[in-house]
């Protein structure tokens, strides 16, 4: 396995953090709780989430709860699979690096 084969989408620190938070939760997470737990700016979270959505790794739902707007994010099955394979790739790279040292 070569480093170039690593998922480009998940190579970004923020996107990885978003995916880690979403993959760890069975329920969808809303925008404000993700914002708080990841300590990101609104624009940052929004633009990275859009990239993950375009890659099919997460599902974004915009709805109204009463009169309030609510944006929720949920990891898709493709997202979970990508996440597992990304972590496996990183792990094998680490093992490779350990063997060489």
């Amino acid at each position: 396995m070569k480093p170039g084969e690593l998922s480009l989408l998940l190579s970004d620190r923020v996107r990885l953090a978003i995916m880690a938070a979403l993959a760890a939760s069975d329920e969808p997470l809303d925008f404000n709780s993700l914002l708080e737990s990841l300590a990101l700016s609104k624009g940052n979270l929004s633009s990275h989430a859009l990239k993950l959505e375009e890659g099919g790794l997460i599902e974004v739902k915009k709805e109204f709860v009463g009169k309030k707007t609510r944006t929720t994010y949920q990891c898709t099955s493709k997202g979970r699979q990508e996440m597992r394979s990304y972590l496996a790739q990183v792990e094998s790279l680490l093992k490779l690096a350990e063997r060489r040292t």
Partner: protein, 262 residues
């Protein structure tokens, strides 16, 4: 054992003082005190708000918290005056001066109940000036998100899908977004030109008017290139029987209130 008539005949109650009023007179007196209290409170509040409005128009806007603080001062002063009237009446009847009378409780109950209601419905406490701050806050949030987007992508975006909703988790009163002509020119679908607002009270009755604004505010030729800049608007109805409140912000962080909605 000698007979003592004091054992059987109860002692006669002391005679009422000549000034002691009947029950009916006391209720009337309480009503008079409460009436005077409300008259003074309302007159004081109206005078105060009129003065604040004059100062706001002539010099500088009087901040809302200051107006509320002054109203509380008027209320407390009127309550003190009521207390003095009650104490004086009680003293003249030979009763203890300080006592929580019906008049006092009536005077206290309605404003406290009103305040409780306002605290439960925070929107009612906020006047049009406070609502206008929502527009500025939403546009400020949009501007920050646009700058971040520019840093990552080398251009601004006119697609609301690519930006966080400035009304996230709130009940937005303003429709925030970009002129339709500019979004069409940039190839963004029309339904992504503005953030959707679902408020039936403030937005829905003015939906067509707001849509017309976004359609007509710019011609395609006047739109900025997203690589150079952008203009965003917040449009809402913040007061009945008043025109729409319209705010604008651009990439240079220039805010302007194009039309005052109150």
């Amino acid at each position: 054992m000698p007979y003592d008539d004091k054992d059987e005949i109860p002692p006669t109650p002391p005679p009422l003082p000549a000034s002691h009023p009947t029950q009916r007179a006391r209720v009337l007196e309480s009503a008079k005190f409460v009436g005077l209290f409300y008259l003074e409170s309302i007159a004081g509040a109206v005078a105060l708000l009129a003065a604040a409005s004059v100062v706001s128009n002539a010099l500088t806007p009087v901040p809302e918290p200051l107006q509320i603080a002054l109203l509380v001062v008027v209320y407390v002063a009127c309550l003190r005056r009521l207390w003095q009237r009650v104490a004086s009446a009680r003293k003249s009847r030979g009763q203890p001066r300080w006592s929580a009378t019906i008049a006092f409780w009536v005077a206290l109950t309605f404003p406290v109940a009103g305040l409780g209601y306002l605290l439960m419905e925070p929107g009612k406490l906020r006047g049009p000036q406070a609502r206008q701050r929502e527009a500025k806050a939403a546009l400020g949030e949009l501007l920050r998100a646009e700058r971040e987007f520019f840093r990552d992508n080398g251009r601004y975006t006119l697609n609301t899908r690519e930006l966080p909703n400035p009304g996230e988790g709130k009940v937005p009163r303003y429709v925030v977004g970009f002129p339709t002509a500019c979004t069409v020119k940039a190839g963004v679908a029309q339904d992504k030109a503005q953030f959707i607002v679902d408020d039936p009270t403030f937005v829905q009755p003015h939906r067509l008017e707001i849509e017309a604004f976004f359609l007509n505010v710019h011609k395609a030729d006047d739109c900025l290139d997203p690589k150079e800049g952008f203009e965003a608007y917040a449009v809402g109805s913040i007061q009945e029987n008043a025109p729409l409140d319209i705010w604008r912000v651009d990439h240079k962080r220039t805010y302007s209130n194009l039309q005052q909605g109150w």
